[in-house]
């Protein structure tokens, strides 16, 4: 059974309850975005997926194995978790060594490490920096090094905490393509993000978390087109959705979330208007 299963998860830091009554199943090869306000418990939730945090009550199963019965190192073979801030993990002299670190920990042979690192650096547009110091790179580049350093060992389930922070539009686009590529190769992808436009572009299943529990769990278009729900989770509707719903007298569907959809809807409506006028 290859999947992430969370059953009746409760978690508290000291006496502050951070997560409660979390039940969810992420099937193999799914693409999920976890969204919600600051402090909603998103990062705490994903830290349960590789055993960094153990449930106070309930249980988290990765591929059928309870995280309580496994170590983080063992789980990290199958679950790659990329943290929000790359500066919390970079320490090597060169980008190559930095990226090779997790593979060395997992005991891969040197030849495999060399090949995999080279491949992932090229894929993430970092090939030119293999021998550079990770500390000399820009914020966006450091973020990609952190990403590479986890993805290099090719985990089955990939969890990215705020992957788009500090990335310019082009890099975001590359990242999106890369994530979609990994997902289409059968890997589970879970992203934690506030970036609503990025979610619209990626079209994942969305899990909305608010104040430590799940507010909604559905496809991206049914959640993001529900204004009340979006506001409840401290998010703002995508710009296109806001524009389309503000054109009230033209009566567009609230499910119009991206540019292409909007374009065809507008064309159709104008066609109708022109047709009527003629």
């Amino acid at each position: 059974m290859n999947m992430i299963e969370v059953k009746d998860l409760h978690f508290a830091y000291e006496d502050k309850e951070v997560l409660r009554d979390i039940d969810l199943t992420i099937s193999d090869g799914e693409f999920v975005a976890i969204m919600g306000e600051n402090g909603a418990g998103k990062t705490t939730l994903v830290k349960h997926f590789n055993g960094l945090l153990k449930p106070a009550r309930g249980e988290v199963l990765i591929d059928g194995i309870s995280t309580r019965k496994s170590t983080v190192a063992h789980l990290s073979r199958n679950v790659g978790l990329v943290f929000q801030n790359p500066d919390h993990q970079l320490f090597s002299e060169t980008v190559f060594e930095e990226v090779a670190f997790s593979m060395r920990n997992l005991g891969y042979p040197e030849e495999t490490i060399r090949k995999r690192v080279k491949f992932i650096l090229e894929t993430l547009d970092l090939g030119a920096y293999a021998e550079a110091s990770p500390f000399m790179l820009s914020g966006g580049e450091r973020k990609r090094v952190a990403l590479a350093s986890v993805l290099v060992s090719d985990p089955k389930h990939i969890i990215l905490d705020e992957p788009t922070i500090g990335q310019d539009y082009q890099q975001k686009d590359r990242l999106r393509n890369f994530i979609i590529q990994m997902n289409s190769q059968g890997r589970t992808v879970v992203i934690v993000t506030h970036d609503i436009e990025f979610v619209v572009d990626c079209k994942p299943r969305v899990i909305l978390v608010s104040k430590g529990s799940i507010l909604a769990d559905n496809s991206y278009d049914s959640i993001l087109s529900d204004r009340e729900l979006v506001e409840k989770a401290s998010l703002v509707s995508p710009q296109i959705a806001a524009l389309m719903s503000s054109l009230t007298n033209l009566n567009f569907s609230p499910k119009i979330l991206d540019l292409y959809h909007a374009k065809s809807a507008l064309e159709q409506r104008f066609g109708e208007i022109v047709h009527k006028a003629v």
Partner: protein, 264 residues
Amino acid sequence: MSIRLFEGFKFKQKATLLHRMDPRPKFLIALTIFMLSLIFANFVVLLVLFISQLPLVYVSKSMRRWFGSMKGGVVLAAMIFIMNFLTGSTLVFSATMTLRFIVLVSAFSMFFMTTSPDDLGLALEKARLPYTLSFTFTTAVRLVPTIALEAQTIVDAQRSRGLELDRGSLIQRVRKYVPILIPLIVSAIRRSTELAEALESRAFGAVKNRQPLATLQMKPLDWAAAAIALAVLAAGIYVQIYVPIPSFDNGIRMPTLWGVPPGS
């Protein structure tokens, strides 16, 4: 985990006598305990020093966090004990040194738990310390919990990359802290540079003579506490010089490879 040690040094506002006290007599109390624990290398005296702090901890309503800092210090305390005992000190002497460490951690944990960094800064300014220096000190105190939290995140990030801190030989384990320490130091340096820039852009140091909004005022209770601390310190020094205290040391020690150390 040793990170919990820092929890017991974090200030938390509470409505207790100890929290309301002026920071100066409070520091004097901590300093008295500090000096006495250095003057006496006697297990019983240190035990008395330790127990005498318990009512203060109770009054400050910080028992749990104090206990947390004690638990966090256990690893270091155990190391002190083992190092002493293995290098030929007697059992009682090793225990005494360990207790001395615990007394010190406890005294300063109590001081920092009940004294806000603002009060501390005011006290340092009252002591005529230049503002830049007192600011540096209070900022350092303020940043300890932040850095402790950051250390935990770094540990989590590296564990997610397959790093196992608790496996391997002693040397291997020490080496495994490199991926923790480097990001911690780098981000501390980054943070301080950013802080310096932010301070400068908000005209830090533009005025030479600062006029604090709130000033510290010693109340009768503060004077009494200071007087008691000084009296205890004086009594301690007197006892150390003039009153012989039995050492209770039964001389049990580890047999070392090179036999009993000379002069014992």
